[in-house]
Amino acid sequence: MRWFETPNFDFNGARKVAYIFSAILFLASLGAILTKGLQYGIDFKGGKEFVLDFENPVSVVDMRSDLSVPLGATPELKLFGSDSEILIRTDNEQPISEVQQIITSSMTELYPDNPFTVIKTDVVGPRFAEDLKSGALQAIIYAIVIIFIYILIRFRNWTFSAGAVAALIHDVVIVLGIFTLMADLVPFSLQVDQAIIAAFLTIVGYSLNDTVVVFDRIRENSNVHKGMDFMPMVNKSLNDTLSRTVITSITTLFVVTVLFIFGGEVLKGFSFALLIGIVLGTYSSLFVASSLVVELEARTKKS
């Protein structure tokens, strides 16, 4: 089977449309992040989380009202995978054993005939959460800096570095934006936590994978076709590698979809981030990264 045997798409010709599309997505994401704020999970916000596994299905609404009084403030409650597993998050500052005591006694009272077990507890102190947050931010910043330097050394051209890094930032911000906008719409947690940061860095790695393969072809083609103009050469390189780009995206999407469906509740948000990230990363290496290089090259040549 052969797809895209000798494709001849005008990627660079479509770049204006792509810029508008990307700009809208990027600004909307930035807007959502700035106005609504990132929905931090327990790792970055601190607090106490409990997952209770009941024998029979239970009602989140009943529970929320029943726990509000003894816990002091309205706790966050949501289903955790099935409708008999519940995640309870609270900022109650009493020691963990007492908070758990409050929850278990309230639940026993509310559901005397529906026994449950506490299958997971997480406690993160506010100070520790702060540390995790700054660690995560540092990780992303270091990743971007190191990638910039590596591409600079490998391709000896700062415009390649700039194009790749701009595409990465584009991808990460839009995934964050989608997370923020969709947080309340999907039946699973889209809170930003450590696992999501890992997913982001993986997206960074993946998007870069794609981009670097294209860059590599641009470098090769510019040695083979010496007299060719830069823009058509970039376009040719994109077409040359298109089959590979699509096939790898497909296989990776396959497994990430499998992870999303079968990976269990704990990995839902993580695999969702990867799912969007792979689509976006493929798009950005085709339309954003190399187009920016073309743009920057043209500008540096002129001056």
Partner: protein, 604 residues
């Protein structure tokens, strides 16, 4: 097939290593299955007989993370400001306390080193002052003339050794508690990460980890003086109610706030009794400035460690008056063990002191016959027995314990020594065993489905080439597990996610190569030449693509904690293994097939 001899050698060596490292894991799981089928007594006997073999297998097995097998993960922090304060001992004054408080806050805010902040703050108050006046230490060569810089270095060494000591102590405590394969590691310059697989009793572990084990013997408060204080406290709150009464008739039904939460006591050393929920409120009321002023200077109040059963089965804690001065500390304890009171069969902890302790204990008991001596651990009074005779053999015991478990834990804590500074729990995560088992199942399903779909797609798209890539993919997964086992890494749920992701991305190198071969074929080259050129030309893209992802994995590894580290490790192992299998293994197979039958290989 020139040069393939070396490649085949590499593959065989790599496979052999993988089998060597995975062998214990396979045998271990077979052993476990076998033991499952035995009756409990047979199993115990088998474990006894094969103990050494089983132990060896277990330590070389690819271990599962807490999120997969269930257990408890705790991050603790050494209270450095308290440690630094205590190091100053009697020299500490108001100035030092202020400086420490400011530095503690600032180091938190700015994410800077506490000791550096402390020196800076101290010097900002008086540039000529020397910290050496607090920290003279002849043994460590710290004299009055030592510069502040030297003091800072000294304090940092002390902090480091306090952290090391704390880790040692926690290790001893955890070992005695009986957790298999605990992991206790240092993180940064004041944190300790403890992982306890399979632990269920969270409360017990918390007190085990946090107990500083500061044991003190103190005299009870002066009975007359203390009773006077207690009476005036009650009078104060009675007046308080009355004055509220006259001021506002609507509040005439107002209760006495203290009697609401504290049941008065008649004993000369007790303030009263309170339920567990009320203890914090009682302390609020008793630490107001007015009350503190009434309190005898040499006296302090402490809660009992364990509650008495009050009327109607409710628990009541006692608030006891003790002297501020500490007569004897736990340093003198040489041995401790659980004993049972022969009359009541109630457990207690009996302690033996060294000779110096015994001498002091004799003097203290001799001088206080007929009076109570409080035995205080970590700020809670365990018992305050009356001294009947002078005790000169250096024996004492802690009674008033809440069962055998507590007695055993207490012995454990006493024997492993006092923590140099209090530890605070910053983070605690617990996963139940059932959730862990579900996660393993989910992970396995994902790996199998992912592998299946990708394998079928590759065969459809690349024909023989796809089949060869699939073989490489399968070996790739086995290699990843082998690498993880070899480096004694832990397999976590995100780690499994990493493997699944690797399955998707591992074929990338082959996709690059095969697509390149197709391109070369289009230019009219022979199959053999196309293969040669395809592998050669795809190489630089493959290297660049993987090196960048490897960098990202390294960053994840250095910044992430716990499960994220697991993800990073599998990602790294995945990159190494997939490069090897995609480039070396497929090449050998492709070469073999093209040599054997001229047209056997198709790339679709």
């Amino acid at each position: 097939m020139q040069g393939n001899g070396f490649k085949i050698g590499c593959i065989v060596a790599f496979l052999a290593l993988t089998i060597y490292y995975l062998y214990p894991t396979v045998v271990w799981s077979l052993e476990q299955n076998y033991m499952e089928e035995l009756s409990p007594s047979e199993r115990a006997q088998y474990q006894e007989e094969e103990q050494q073999k089983l132990e060896e297998l277990r330590t070389n097995t690819l271990s599962l993370g807490l999120d997969l097998q269930g257990g408890m993960h705790v991050t603790l922090e050494v209270g450095v400001p308290q440690l630094i304060r205590e190091l100053a001992g009697e020299n500490a004054d108001q100035l030092l306390n202020d400086v420490i408080d400011v530095a503690a806050e600032r180091s938190l805010e700015n994410d800077t080193d506490f000791i550096d902040e402390m020196v800076a703050e101290f010097e900002s108050r008086d540039p000529d002052a020397r910290l050496s006046r607090y920290y003279r230490n002849d043994a460590m060569d710290i004299t009055r003339r030592s510069t502040n810089e030297e003091i800072a270095t000294f304090l940092k060494t002390q902090r480091q050794s306090a952290l090391d000591r704390a880790i040692e102590i926690i290790r001893t405590r955890v070992d005695r508690y009986g957790v298999t394969e605990p992991s206790i590691v240092k993180q940064g310059n004041n944190r300790i990460v403890v992982e306890l697989p399979g632990v269920e009793d969270k409360e017990r572990v918390r007190s085990l980890l946090k107990g500083t084990a500061r044991l003190e013997f103190r005299l009870a408060a002066d009975a007359q003086e203390f009773r006077g204080f207690v009476n005036s406290v009650y009078e104060y709150y009675d007046d308080y109610t009355e004055s509220a009464d006259t001021a506002d008739s609507a509040a005439s039904n107002q209760f006495n706030p203290l009697e609401e939460v504290l049941v008065p006591a008649q004993s000369p050393y007790l303030v009263g009794y309170a339920t567990p929920e009320d203890t914090a409120r009682v302390m609020d009321l008793l630490t107001t400035e007015e009350i503190q002023r009434m309190m005898p200077r040499s006296t302090t109040m402490m809660w009992s460690a364990n509650p008495l059963e009050g009327q109607g089965g409710s628990d009541l804690y006692q608030l006891i008056g003790v002297r501020t001065q500490v007569e004897l500390t736990g340093d003198v304890i040489e041995a401790a063990s659980v004993q049972f009171d022969p009359a009541t069969n109630v457990p207690e902890v009996s302690m033996t002191m060294n000779s110096e302790g015994a001498r002091k204990w004799g003097r203290i008991t001799g001088a206080n016959i007929g009076k109570p001596v409080a035995i205080v651990l970590d700020g809670f009074v365990f018992s305050y027995p009356n001294v009947n005779t002078k005790i000169s053999n250096g024996r004492s015991s802690i009674t008033g314990l809440d069962g055998v478990d507590e007695a055993e834990d207490l012995v454990n804590i006493l024997l492993s020594g006092a923590l140099p500074a209090p530890l605070e729990i910053l983070e605690e995560r617990t996963v139940g065993a059932t959730l862990g088992a579900e996660s393993i199942q989910a992970g396995l399903n994902s790996i199998l489905f992912g592998l299946g779909i990708v394998a079928i797609f590759m065969i459809i798209y690349y024909r023989t080439g796809g089949g060869i890539a699939d073989l490489a993919l399968l070996l790739n997964i086995i290699f990843i597990l082998g690498i993880l086992a070899a480096f004694k890494a832990t397999l976590t749920l995100p780690g499994i996610a990493g493997i699944v992701l690797t399955i998707g991305m591992a074929v990338d190198a082959n996709v690059l190569i095969f697509d390149r071969i197709r391109e070369e074929q289009r230019t009219g080259k022979t199959l053999k030449a196309s293969i040669e050129a395809g592998y050669a030309n795809a190489m630089s893209a493959i290297v660049d693509a993987n090196v960048t992802t490897f960098f990202v994995a390294i960053i994840l590894f250095s910044f992430g904690v716990g499960p994220i580290k697991g993800f990073a490790v599998t990602l790294m192992a995945g990159i190494v293994a997939s490069l090897f299998s995609a480039i070396v293994i497929t090449r050998v197979v492709v070469d073999y097939l093209t040599q054997a039958k001229k047209s056997a290989v198709s790339f679709g």
